[in-house]
C-alpha cells in the first residue's frame, strides 16, 4: 500500500498527535532489547498510539481492508524482536493505555488495559493486600499486555508459575476489526472449563492472533512473611542435587536462583564488598508464606542444604535478607559491566533445561563460551531450569558479532538436544523462529492452522513465531 496514503489515513482517522511518522520517530520503533533487532533495522511505515477498543477496532478494520501488517507493541522490553515490524506497516503502541478498569478485591481479580506496567499494577494492588504474582526482571517497564502476549514469568515462577495461570479472560480485537471476549462475556468466575480455552491461546501468541485490549487477571493474597537463604557449593552438581532434595521434601520455595562461578566472579567484581567466596555455585532460596511456615520451611531447607554446601546462611530480618540477596540482585547490572569496552547483549539468553540436566548444561555452555571465545555469564532460575546466559562482547567488532551469533545458536541447539526448550520465558519473536520447526515438529503446523483460521491474511505481526515466508 502507498505509504504516504497510509500515514495520511492514520492522521485522518486518529489525529496527528497519535501518529508518529517521521524517520526519526519511526527509528525508535525498530528495536526492542534483543540483539537481533539491533542488528537488523526494521522500520514501520507509521506508528500509531491508541487508547481505546473502538480505535483499535477501527485501525484493524482498515489494516484488514488494505492488507497492512500490524505489530502490537507494549514497552518494547522484549528480548526477541517481537514488537518490531519486520514487513513494515503499522506499529501499534499500546504502552500509553494504562487504565485499571476495576479492582474487584472481593473476587480477587483485576481488569486492566494492556499498557499498564507490571510494577505499577502491583503498587496499585498493594493496599488491597493482593498481588499479580508473575514477576519478570523487567517488572518496572514490561506492560501487562506484553506479559500476556509473551506469557512472561520470573524468578518466583517456581512457586507461582507463568502469566497464563492468572489470565481469566482477554478482550481481543481480531485481525478483521471484530471484538471478542474470552473467558465468558460477563464472567467473574475464577475457574471455567466452558468451551475451548481461547484465553490460553492468547497467552504467548506474541501479537500474531489479534490485539489484546483488556485483560482480566486472577490475584493472590500477598504473603505475610519471607526469608532468604544463601548456600555456597564447591561442586556445581551438589547445588542441583540440593534443589532436587528440597522438592523431594515437599517444599516449594518461592524462588531458587543460581550464580555459577563466573556469575559469582562477576558480582564480586561489580561490588567488591559482596565478597562471595569463589565456589562453583551460589544458590539463593526465597521462602514466603505465613511467619511460622517460613520459619519451619526455612529450617528444613537449611538442614537439607547443609548436607552438601560449604556454607549456608538463613535470614528473616530485612537488612540481612537484602544483604544476602544482593549477589542475585546485582547480577543483571554486573554482567553488563563485566569487562571494560564490552557489552552484555540479549541473545540465546533464555533457554530452559530439565532441572536434572542443569549441571551438565552449565558445563557445556562454558565449553561453548570457550570454543567461540566469547565470555558468557550464567545465572538464573535453577528451580525450574530456566537459565540466563549473558554473552559479553563488542557489537562494533564484526568478528565478535559473528562469534556471538554462533554462541547463541549453539546454546539454543544444546537446549533442544538435552530435552529443554529454546525459551523459558522470553518468547520466540523472530530471534528464535528458526528453531520452532525442530522444537515442535507437527505441532508447529497446527499452530499455523490456528493462526490461519484467525488471521487468514497474515497481517498480525508477520515473521514472529513462524519465519517470514511460511505462507
Amino acid at each position: 500500500m502507498d505509504k504516504v496514503k497510509l500515514v495520511n489515513d492514520m492522521v485522518k482517522m486518529f489525529g496527528a498527535e497519535k501518529v508518529l511518522q517521521s524517520e526519526l520517530e519511526r527509528y525508535t520503533y525498530t528495536y526492542d532489547s534483543s540483539f537481533a533487532s539491533q542488528q537488523n533495522e526494521y522500520y514501520p511505515d507509521v506508528v500509531v498510539r491508541l487508547e481505546s477498543t473502538s480505535d483499535v477496532s477501527k485501525l484493524m478494520k482498515y489494516a484488514w481492508d488494505n492488507n497492512v501488517p500490524v505489530t502490537p507493541r507494549g514497552a518494547g522490553s522484549g528480548q526477541t524482536g517481537g514488537s518490531v515490524a519486520m514487513t513494515g506497516g503499522i506499529v501499534l503502541d499500546l504502552s500509553g493505555w494504562k487504565d485499571i478498569v476495576e479492582i474487584d478485591d472481593a473476587n480477587m481479580q483485576v481488569v486492566v488495559r494492556p499498557g499498564i506496567v507490571h510494577a505499577e499494577l502491583n503498587a496499585a494492588l498493594s493496599p488491597y493486600g493482593l498481588f499479580f504474582p508473575p514477576d519478570p526482571g523487567s517488572s518496572a517497564m514490561a506492560t501487562v499486555g506484553g506479559m500476556v502476549s509473551n506469557n512472561a514469568s520470573g524468578l518466583r515462577a517456581v512457586k507461582y508459575g507463568a502469566t497464563f495461570q492468572y489470565v481469566l479472560g482477554v478482550e481481543v480485537v481480531l485481525p478483521n476489526g471484530d471484538v471478542m471476549k474470552t473467558g465468558g462475556l460477563k464472567s467473574k468466575a475464577l475457574k471455567s472449563v466452558s468451551g475451548i480455552d481461547l484465553t490460553r491461546i492468547y497467552c504467548g501468541a506474541e501479537g500474531t492472533l489479534g490485539v489484546i485490549t483488556e485483560i482480566r487477571l486472577k490475584l493472590l493474597p500477598k504473603p505475610q512473611s519471607r526469608g532468604i537463604m544463601l548456600a555456597l557449593f564447591e561442586k556445581l552438581e551438589d547445588s542441583a542435587l540440593t534443589v532436587l532434595d528440597v522438592f523431594k521434601a515437599g517444599i516449594i520455595p518461592s524462588g531458587i536462583e543460581i550464580l555459577d562461578d563466573g556469575g559469582i566472579r562477576c558480582a564480586n567484581m561489580f561490588k567488591p564488598d559482596l565478597n562471595i567466596p569463589e565456589v562453583e555455585a551460589a544458590i539463593f532460596f526465597e521462602i514466603n508464606g505465613t511467619k511460622p511456615a517460613v520459619e519451619e520451611e526455612g529450617a528444613q531447607v537449611k538442614a537439607i542444604a547443609e548436607k552438601r554446601a560449604k556454607s549456608v546462611e538463613w535470614a528473616t530480618d530485612a537488612d540481612r535478607m537484602a544483604k544476602l540477596w544482593q549477589g542475585r540482585a546485582v547480577i543483571g547490572a554486573a554482567s553488563a559491566r563485566f569487562k571494560e569496552g564490552k557489552t552484555r547483549i540479549f541473545a540465546g539468553e533464555d533457554v530452559c533445561f530439565p532441572i536434572s540436566k542443569v549441571p551438565e548444561a552449565l558445563k557445556r555452555i562454558k565449553a561453548i563460551s570457550k570454543e567461540f571465545d566469547i565470555p558468557v555469564v550464567i545465572y538464573g532460575h535453577i528451580g525450574d531450569g530456566n537459565m540466563h546466559t549473558a554473552p559479553i562482547m563488542d557489537p562494533l567488532i564484526p568478528d565478535e558479532v559473528t562469534r556471538t551469533h554462533k554462541v547463541a545458536e549453539a546454546i539454543h541447539r544444546l537446549a533442544l538436544e538435552i530435552g529443554g526448550s529454546t525459551t523459558g520465558e522470553h518468547g520466540v519473536g523472530f530471534a528464535r523462529a528458526a528453531y520452532m520447526e525442530e522444537e515442535h515438529g507437527k505441532a508447529l503446523d497446527v499452530m499455523w492452522a490456528i493462526k490461519k483460521a484467525i488471521d487468514p491474511k497474515n497481517i498480525m505481526n508477520p515473521g514472529k513465531i513462524w519465519k517470514l515466508g511460511r505462507e
Binding site: 506508528v47 514497552a75 522490553s77 500509553g96 517497564m141 557489552t343
Partner: protein
C-alpha cells in the same frame, strides 16, 4: 561526532543495550509516552547521528533538548550509561553545527500563552541580563523571539530582587567562637538576585559554626545554563575566570548554596578541559574543594543549632543536581532535623525531578507543569508548613506550583531555617 564536552561517544553509546529500564524512571517519559520521548529513544537517535546515519536537524535537536538532565535514567541504568552527559555533549555538538533555530519552535510552542509564566520568563531573562549573560540570550536568540511586550519587559529589567545578597554580605565575615575553617562562599546568580536571603543565611550559619567566610568578589555565573544549551565555549571562559578567583587564596573549602553551581564545579568543569592541561588540573582542585553547604556542615564543622525553637513541620525536595549528581541527600535532612522544634516529614518521591531544570520550565512549559503537578501533590500530602530544598531553580518552580495549587506552604533553603535559630 566531536564535542568540546569530553565524551567518547562510541564507547558510551555502545553500553546501551536498549533494555528500556529508563522508561520506568524518566519523569518526562511518563508524560510524553511515545518511544522518542524515552531516554532509550533519545540515545538511539544520538547513536544514529554519531554513526552518520542521520543528519543534525531541528527535529533531532528538539528531541535532544526535551530532557531535564535530571540524571534519573543514568543512576538507574543497569549498564551504567551516562545518558545525561551524552545528552549534554550532543547538545554541545548540535549547537556547534546548527544555528539553533529549534529554540524558536520550543519557545513559541510553549509558554507564551501562559500568563502565569510571564513572571518566570521575565525573571529568567531579567536575571540573565542582570548577571551579564547577554551572550547566551543573544546566541540562543531568546531576545529576538520574545514577543514584543515581554521583550520590552525584559529590557526594562524587572526587579528580580529587592537587594542582591552581595550587597548585604560583607566580604569577610569572621567566625563566631573558635575558627575552624576559612571558606570561600560562592554566591550564585540566582540566589544572589532572586533569593538573597539564602546566601545571607548561609554565611551566618557557617560563621556560627566556626568558619571565617569570604564572600568572594568578581566571580561570574558558574556556566550551567551555557552548558545546558550547548554553549560550551562560553562555559569554558566562565570556568577559567571563576577558577582563577576561587583558587587564588588557599581556602579550606569553596561553599555553594545552589545545587547546580556546586555540581557544575564538581562535575562539569573537569569535563570541559583537555586532559593534562593546567585548566583541567585547576578544575580538579576546585572540584575537590567544593562543598554543598549542608554537606560541609555535616561532614566538616558539625551542626551547632541556635536556641530559638521553630515549631514547624518541614519536608524536603531533593534537587537532581544534589542527590544524583553529588549523592548529597542525607545532609540537608540532618540540617533540618538539627533545628529545635522542627517536625521533619518525608514526602513521597522526594527525589523526583520538579520539572524546572533551569529554563526547561520556560522552553517546555506544558511538560514541565505536568512533572511539577506530581511533585506538588506529594508535598501537599505531607501538610508541611515549609518545603525545603537546596536549589534556586527548584525553589522558583516549587513556589510557583504551590501558589497555583492554593497552598500557603513556603519554599526555603535548609540554612534559612537553621539561621532563624540564632536570632533571639
Amino acid at each position: 561526532m566531536q564535542s568540546t564536552y569530553k565524551m567518547n561517544f562510541t564507547e558510551e553509546l555502545k553500553k546501551c543495550v536498549k533494555c528500556g529500564t529508563c522508561r520506568a524512571h524518566c519523569p518526562l517519559f511518563v508524560e510524553i509516552k511515545g518511544e522518542p520521548g524515552s531516554p532509550r529513544g533519545r540515545l538511539a537517535l544520538i547513536k544514529q547521528l554519531h554513526e552518520g546515519k542521520i543528519q543534525p536537524s531541528k527535529e533531532l535537536a528538539e528531541i535532544v533538548y526535551t530532557c531535564l538532565l535530571c540524571k534519573t535514567c543514568a543512576v538507574e541504568c543497569p549498564s551504567g550509561v551516562i545518558s545525561d552527559e551524552i545528552i549534554l555533549a550532543s547538545r554541545n555538538y548540535l549547537n556547534e553545527v546548527m544555528d539553533q533555530p529549534f529554540i524558536k519552535g520550543a519557545i513559541l510552542k510553549g509558554f507564551l500563552t501562559r500568563p502565569g509564566m510571564l513572571y518566570a520568563c521575565m525573571t529568567l531573562a531579567g536575571l540573565y541580563q542582570k548577571v551579564g549573560l547577554h551572550s547566551l540570550l543573544t546566541k540562543t536568540k531568546l531576545y529576538n523571539l520574545l514577543p514584543e511586550k515581554l521583550n520590552a519587559a525584559t529590557k526594562i529589567m524587572p526587579d528580580v530582587s529587592k537587594k542582591p545578597a552581595r550587597s548585604r554580605i560583607p566580604t569577610v565575615t569572621p567566625a563566631k567562637g573558635e575558627k575552624k575553617f576559612k571558606v570561600a562562599y560562592f554566591i550564585g546568580c540566582a540566589t544572589n538576585h532572586i533569593y538573597p536571603d539564602v546566601p545571607v543565611s548561609g554565611v551566618e550559619v557557617l560563621s556560627q559554626n566556626g568558619c571565617e567566610v569570604v564572600a568572594v568578589e568578581g566571580v561570574k555565573c558558574c556556566g550551567m545554563p551555557h552548558m545546558a544549551y550547548g554553549e560550551t565555549d562560553t562555559a569554558k571562559e566562565l570556568a577559567k575566570h571563576n577558577m582563577e578567583i576561587l583558587l587564588k587564596d588557599n581556602y579550606d573549602a569553596v561553599i555553594c548554596d545552589c545545587a547546580s553551581c556546586s555540581s557544575t564545579f564538581k562535575e562539569m568543569y573537569p569535563h570541559i578541559f583537555a586532559e593534562g592541561t593546567k585548566e583541567q588540573e585547576m578544575a580538579k582542585t576546585l572540584a575537590a574543594k567544593t562543598f554543598d553547604i549542608s554537606k560541609f556542615l555535616v561532614a566538616k564543622t558539625g551542626i551547632k543549632a541556635g536556641k530559638k525553637e521553630q515549631k514547624i513541620k518541614v519536608t524536603y525536595h531533593d534537587p537532581c543536581h544534589l542527590k544524583r549528581a553529588q549523592k548529597v541527600f542525607k545532609e540537608p535532612r540532618e540540617v533540618l532535623k538539627s533545628i529545635p522544634g522542627v517536625e521533619f516529614v518525608e514526602m513521597k518521591n522526594a527525589d523526583r525531578c520538579c520539572g524546572s531544570a533551569g529554563s526547561f520550565t520556560v522552553m517546555h512549559h506544558d511538560l514541565s507543569m505536568k512533572v511539577l503537578d506530581k511533585k506538588i501533590k506529594g508535598a501537599q500530602a505531607t501538610k508541611a508548613d515549609f518545603l525545603a530544598t537546596s536549589c534556586p531553580t527548584c525553589t522558583m518552580q516549587l513556589s510557583y506550583g504551590l501558589k497555583q495549587a492554593g497552598s500557603n506552604a513556603k519554599v526555603v533553603h535548609p540554612v534559612q531555617l537553621l539561621a532563624e535559630t540564632y536570632k533571639d
